[in-house]
Point group: C2
Chain length 388, copies 2
Amino acid sequence: MFIREESGSFVAFIYQAMFKFEVLNKDRETKARLGMIYTAHGLVETPAFMPVATQGSVKAMTPLEIEGFGFEMIVVNAYHLYLRPGFRTVEKLGGLHGFTSWNRSILTDSGGYQVLSLSKVRKIKEGGILFRSHLDGSEHFLTPQKSIEIQKALGADIMMCLDECPPHPSTYEYLYNSLELTSCWAKICKETKGDSESALFGIVHGGVFSELRKKSALELLEIGFDGYAIGGLGIGESKEETCEMVVLSLSFLPEDKPRYLMGLGLPEDIVEAVSMGVDVFDCVLPTRNARNGTLFTNHGKMVIKNAQYAEDETPVDEDCECYTCRNFSRAYLRHLYQAGEILASRLLTFHNLHFYGRLMKEIRESISRGQFSSFRTRFQLIGGFDKS
Amino acid sequence: MFIREESGSFVAFIYQAMFKFEVLNKDRETKARLGMIYTAHGLVETPAFMPVATQGSVKAMTPLEIEGFGFEMIVVNAYHLYLRPGFRTVEKLGGLHGFTSWNRSILTDSGGYQVLSLSKVRKIKEGGILFRSHLDGSEHFLTPQKSIEIQKALGADIMMCLDECPPHPSTYEYLYNSLELTSCWAKICKETKGDSESALFGIVHGGVFSELRKKSALELLEIGFDGYAIGGLGIGESKEETCEMVVLSLSFLPEDKPRYLMGLGLPEDIVEAVSMGVDVFDCVLPTRNARNGTLFTNHGKMVIKNAQYAEDETPVDEDCECYTCRNFSRAYLRHLYQAGEILASRLLTFHNLHFYGRLMKEIRESISRGQFSSFRTRFQLIGGFDKS
């Protein structure tokens, strides 16, 4: 069904046409929408959540399991794969799809965020970011051209523009200059992309300044991308600010392109952001929390290591049908966690990702049936981020 | 099919009759035999290998996977469960079967080996072993009575007698005295077992002294057990000594009882020991080696972290049909291992246990077909421990 690697401009043209986004249904009461992303590796129903495969593996899970949860796209960190095992190695081994055996869609981040958060010695220059590897201290210069080159080699279905990710809080002046750079890099990324079969998304920045968010969105729109992401949020600003910036950023973005809210993904955040019109999410919370012993349930969070579960024979969530809940008690899971057993990470991650998979399915179904608002109300009872 | 917990002596009688061992087939050229162990939790075809679930979980694996590999019995360490979460807690939660969701047979060790290898402050007395927990330093006194009480509470299908495990090398005198103690404890264990539905195995000791091995075996035989284990081997003595002691110990053990070689389990060791008449094995090698990046294959061991596999697109073992070999390249597995990904432990353990599951199946089939000797020859090409 999907045409794979061949040479010639005709095939390249088909590939270019391959990436597509359609809005299938709109909610009447909110801005939520049901959509479909088409990539060379299949369909991605939206709103979609992407599990994070930082180093080419969704931690503790197999590709088969990820697909079983209903996820159709994962996000992989270009920075990590660039450093280890090396992007040319991955390219030789069939790109990320061949390398990881994940056969569905893959979005790669640019590497910008990881460079700025993980490497200690770094210098942001006009041409790119000078940094030292967090693995071996080797020096690297990540330019927008290089970032796209890496993501192309990795065989991403969706690539992200290289962006500078300023911390919160940052001054207006700092953010203004950062934005100039990010917009300039976005233009270079678009040029470097050329006629690649991979789609390219721009990233709206501007911190918590409405004016800068607007400036960023309009500059990206002028360059023109296959989709638009909202970046630089969930890094310490208040929930009200997050909410305001998401709504504002979205107001400038075209309806016929997918919108991706980067890195934010508490269940209640997802439901709220969907109501604002976000289509795509990624977040390490379900996997990282699981490894730290925190579970998402239909009745709120559960910290499995708490002593109260030491002799609790019930499953994590009576309403959950995942392998973990169907087979194991809270007491056993707590024991595995306390004992540092790998099986704890597996079973807890399995539950959390199953929870997220079901959440996204319920969101899509509720939009499809025109019942998203009542679904949203149920989640607000647990505590959404828009308390205003 | 299997009657579960009920009160009354009639049911207790059924349970007692439940444990049974039958020799189904004997090899003509060697002492290898095909057998069947019956426990309250099903059948165990022998020669059988038991994966080690140290703390109530075969590391990185689910019970479903363990069953899928063809294993019908696992071994759990009473010492670990006694300390955490506590044997009374496990008892309350339905014993090990209810607690871990492993529904087939379970053998528990007595705790003696772990007490002597893990806890730092310990004193062997006539009545038992005084030790401090390796977890919190708390003081405990493990007696043969207590050991059986723990194993009963854990709901083991097969319990092991408490034994002293002397290091290698030990003097004849030390081993003689140790043996006296172990025989004395064995008697107490048998008495404490009473009419429990769990079977009880005695453990032949005596280091590398033929005379002591004989003495140990005869003393245990006089007490009378449901099965006999050979302990105190694989702890530093030469392969020749191991081999000699296994053959000698077996020569005193009755043919109609299962024989269990404790802790030894390289593939070539298993094949050799089967040829001597051993029925049951356990070993941490397939799981521990996997987590250390060492794989068992039909062509010998493979150290996946080696640089030579960095761009190797082939599976670990072309002849292997496990999930790991069917889906992932050596290069990807090496990457996961180097990156410290949990998925590395999962996929490598999966392969190794699949290898062991298939090995045991092939051993049983070869005995059944009268072709064990030719099967054994194939393994000796890799390197068995009986080189004499």
